[in-house]
């Protein structure tokens, strides 16, 4: 982590939660994608966000990641108003989305070096080598991204998100396209991130994977949080039935 970000992290972790969302509304024209989201995520915790297709999960991640402007409401990251201190907030966030945000005609290493320069990462080559090892990419770093399989591209995308050692990870269905080995690698990286005091919000359709790492679960439905519970006090059987009911198509 660079000095500025590290200082920020220390300044805010004790006083403010990792993420605080109040009255978040996001509309696209007449369509209301998010209809008033409130949530607080303390440091060191993982929020698993479930929900059927079109429930607003990706929109929520986009707004939290500063990719989309909230129509109403407020998002605070480590106590920072995400709109007023967007650049500082972005230093604290790492995002894994549906897209890898990579350039096909650059090698994996060149892509990572590019993003390292954009984030002002110190000793980028060491950091890239470390992440390459951790994600099983060491042998593929010098291949052009277009020649990598979808799963390997996804791993490079995850390395990109972790490059600047973010405090808050936002992951939109991160396990999609990963083989079991890569999914296990990702899970261990995320656990390490939580152990070090970082936080994460991730969306998933896999109840099993979601519950394996979550400290808290929430179900998003039609742009609202329809259900939320601490993982520790969750009745897994009842939750699975509830989630199936939410995602059922038809009456």
């Amino acid at each position: 982590m660079d000095t500025k970000s590290a200082t920020l992290h220390q300044d805010n972790t004790s006083a403010s939660p990792a993420l605080e969302v109040r009255g978040l509304v996001k509309s696209y024209g007449a369509h209301l994608a998010l209809k008033g989201i409130d949530l607080v995520l303390p440091w060191g915790q993982a929020l698993a966000m479930f929900g059927p297709n079109g429930s607003g999960k990706t929109t929520l991640i986009k707004v939290l990641a500063t990719l989309a402007r909230p129509t109403e409401g407020q998002v605070r990251i480590a106590g920072l108003d995400q709109r007023r201190h967007a650049a500082l907030a972005r230093r604290l966030i790492g995002v894994v989305g549906h897209n890898t945000f990579l350039y096909d005609d650059l090698t994996a290493r060149e892509n990572l070096r590019f993003y390292a320069r954009m984030f002002g990462v110190t000793k980028p080559d060491e950091r890239i080598a470390g992440l390459g090892e951790a994600l099983g990419l060491a042998l593929h770093l010098d291949r052009r991204v277009r020649t990598l399989s979808h799963g390997l591209q996804k791993r490079v995308g995850i390395a990109r998100a972790l490059l600047h050692d973010p405090s808050l990870l936002l992951l939109d269905e991160p396990e999609t396209g990963l083989d079991p080995e890569a999914a296990a690698l990702l899970e261990s990286l995320l656990r390490r991130h939580l152990e070090r005091g970082g936080s994460l919000v991730f969306t998933t359709h896999s109840v099993e994977r979601g519950l394996a790492i979550a400290s808290r679960v929430a179900v998003l439905r039609e742009g609202r949080i329809a259900y939320t519970e601490e993982r520790a006090s969750l009745d897994v059987q009842a939750f699975q039935e509830l989630y199936q009911r939410f995602t059922r198509v038809g009456p």
Partner: protein, 224 residues
């Protein structure tokens, strides 16, 4: 290096590397500009007076449309795997992203123009060795790129981006197009600096104003 230059040069380096490997921007621009110029030579009676009347328009039609083609390709490449969103997730200022993208597009357009000009000079008997024309070329190209980058960023998320960009671009770029055609006409007619310097001044003012406006509004254009 400052917080401005380092990431800005990183964006520029990335665009130059992508073009060096993919050749998806400059080559189509060159081909398109060449086709336009050749079609004009077939269409115009080769009498010197007529050629002189048509040459400025032919030159800037080919450069403007080739530039639009290049801008569309550059941003389509950026959109492929969400590269634009990747840039937006970085903590650098939106003016930095704008300047990096602008410089890349500016250099691609300038390169295509530099290759096309000798061909154009041969076909239209155009006087290449007029320094004032080169000043105009650089300033007008910068103006096109300044307008084009911000509208390409807007148009790239629309379905009909190939249509949207010219529709958005031309009304705003009209002052530069008029100035470029008028000044080039003066050069073709062999007139002096005093005749076309006011058009160069107009292009300079346009560049300064539009660069400032575009750099400060680029962030709003990018966000959903």
């Amino acid at each position: 290096m400052s917080a401005f230059w380092r990431p800005m040069l990183a964006v520029l380096w990335k665009d130059l590397m992508l073009e060096a490997r993919s050749r998806e921007v400059v080559a189509p621009m060159l081909l398109f500009a060449l086709l336009v110029v050749v079609v004009f030579t077939f269409a115009v009676d080769p009498r010197p007076a007529l050629v002189a009347a048509v040459a400025p328009g032919a030159l800037w039609v080919s450069f403007t449309f080739a530039g639009i083609l290049g801008l569309t390709r550059t941003f389509a490449l950026e959109k492929e795997k969400g590269g634009m969103e990747g840039l937006m997730l970085t903590p650098v200022g939106r003016d930095v992203l704008y300047t990096g993208k602008l410089l890349g597009s500016f250099l691609f357009m300038l390169l295509a123009e530099a290759v096309m000009l000798p061909v154009f000079a041969a076909l239209f008997n155009f006087p290449l060795l007029v320094p004032g024309f080169w000043v105009l070329l650089v300033l007008a190209t910068l103006g096109f790129a300044a307008v084009g980058v911000i509208f390409s960023a807007m148009a790239v998320n629309t379905r009909a981006r190939e249509i949207m960009l010219p529709v958005l671009f031309f009304p705003i770029a009209v002052p530069v197009i008029i100035a470029a055609v008028q000044a080039t006409g003066s050069v073709v007619r062999g007139e002096g600096w005093s005749e076309y310097s006011r058009w160069i001044a107009l292009t300079s003012v346009f560049d300064v104003v539009f660069l400032a406006v575009a750099a400060t509004t680029f962030g709003f254009v990018l966000e959903e």
